[in-house]
Amino acid sequence: MTRKTRSATAVAIGLGIALAATGCAGGSDDDSGNTGSSGGGKVTVTLWENSTTGPGKQFFVDAAKAYHTLHPNVTVTLQTVQNEDFDGKLQTALNSNSAPDVFLQRGGGKMQAMVDAGQIQALDLTAADKTNAGPAAIAGDSIDGKIYAVPLDTAPEGIYYSKDLFRQAGISSAPTTMDELEAGVAKLKAANVAPIAVGAKDAWPAAHWYYNFALRECSQDTMTKVGKSLKFDDPCWTKAGDDLASFLKVNPFQKGFLTASSQQGAGSSAGMLANHKAAMELMGNWDPGVIAGLTKDQKPLPDLGWFPFPGVAGGQGDPSAIMGGSGGYSLSKKAPKEALGFLEFLLTKDQQVAYAKAFVTIPVNKEAQSVVTEPYNISALQAFNKAAYSMQFLDTEYGQNVGNAMNTAVVNLLAGKGTAADIVKDTNSAAERG
């Protein structure tokens, strides 16, 4: 009996392997995008991005069409991948040599890992491209002097707020110092409004409060150097945690903020702002779009305003410095040179105007920045142009491993289970592990 079963098993496995082999062979046939060739013939460029609906997706469709008209031998095929699924899917594609030619790049440590693994190209941008993108944005996408992504927008972070709720609570002007912000919190509480919404369940929105305190407490030099050493031993890192802890004492966040998510549904932090349940939220430039999707009529919030993160007395960071994401679009190793052509095209003025309109954001190309009309974007743009420097979000800047530990430690602090010293300790020990 055993022998019989054994040979049956052997037969089964043989059959399966045969099937699997034919299956695989079938799969690799239609992998036509990554030819890597760039003779004069027809070229297909594959592109992955994360706007699955609406004007964002339409922008890429239109841009691909426009580029094809200018360069009839190049066809850009788009694939949209949902934001939270994006990184995992991309990682699998990169590792299995089936990566798209062009893809959304998060920047920072993730980009560094791709560079280390030799999975993306260093980009040879022309002087015109560099002018279009601007030096600040280019710097955010460079590693050791080499450019690895083409930035399309600037993402200054700050506090979005409801002008109506500020007026109701009797706050006349946007806070510029922590004391003014804390006074504002007290007034909003008296008016029965949750002062600040934060989605701590996702950790990063809460951690951004720590990042911004660190931006004010630590000098640019300290922050940049840590990116290499990953040793958080400057006292400014603990100071930033202490700032956050003392800010927590005025209970600025909404009730139950630890289990609130940031972008999903009316109970999320963005949803609370959209429905006038909370007055403020610290976020990057994608927030107005997210808020718009969560209002009752799914229209942009009419009374939305923006102000930069308040100054912190005695910090070593420049008070005008801004926290902001960068990133853009990268080329995978085997992408044809026409793929870079498409990215250069996206940096031109007309495309940047269309991009800014589609994503309700601030384009990198200065010539296109005149299309910014929303008051919150104008405030952000002014602050950004005035800023002494901008710093990439720390969980991106210092890599996923350290970033994740930092985010977790900040949530612990908010939950009353950790201290400022623990943030530094946990972050340092994660750096050792990774």
Binding site: V11, A12, L94, N95, G399
Partner: protein, 340 residues
Amino acid sequence: MSDTLGTDTATGHRSQGTSRVGGAATSGSPTRPRPASRRRGRAKMRLEIALLSGPAIIMFLAFVIFPVALAAYYGFYRWHGYGAPTDWVGLNNYKLILTDPAFQQVLKHSFLIMGLSLVIQGPLAIVLALLLNQKIRGRSVIRVLIFVPYIISEVIVGTGWSLMLQSDGAVNDLLRHIGLGSLQADWLSNPKLAIWTLMGIISWKYIGFAVILMLAGLQSIPEELFEAAQIDGASYWQIQRRITLPLLGPTIRIWAFLSIIGSLQLFDLVYIIWGQYVSGTAGTSTMAIYMLAQGRNAGNYGYGSAIAVVMFLISLIVALIYQRFVLRRDLRGAVTEGVV
């Protein structure tokens, strides 16, 4: 296919080499001598086994054995998930796990959840099963109601409960409206309450499965035993204690086994309700959550894989100990043989 024929000829069944090709068309022929048809029957059976179990075996190898082996392999590397792993660190990841306070914490949580599941759900399920085993009005409706949560997906259960238990959610609202406002609480984020909230939801969800198992166990106990005991003048409690519980033993032990393994691998409910970050501070995180946090979210794929291996070993050891010391009697059938 040539492989299958090859196997047959190799085992020496020459006569079949040719007849096999004809296949099914001639298989019903009554003139064929018996030994050949028996042999042919055996070959047919072999083919059937291959066809029926082959895909399952392939799937099992591809999606269970292969990933386990891969995790063991990655566990020896420091690897961020981009490109092939190159930074061999030997057993360093395992050393780090042993000294990692965060891992010790989730390990403690996992075993606490396991213990509480057994203590809360077991007795409750037995009592419910005893009640539902009697002829009471609406029995089948109650059975269905108890079982329904078990078949709802974890994602739906988690989302539903997390919405209801928010600080401004339906549960607190209800308490306020029925005049029990003082009982309102931060069910999810208060670390003193969160573990009990979790146990409440787990019990609500999985008790139906335990009850159904216990009911099946109860129904396998011969009616005559109860009748005989009643004739002998045994009280209700005596009957339950001396007859029902011992005879229900095998069922209880199997349920406990499933519950233990399920608790050690608990992931989805906690992840949906608390997420990977808050579960740590609320005291509800589990080994599986930590594995995901370190592996996919922190990008330490090597370390995450090592955690997966440790989790696998812990589950295996618990399962082996349980089989060796608790299930041994059942595996021999000693209890049932002795009594029946």
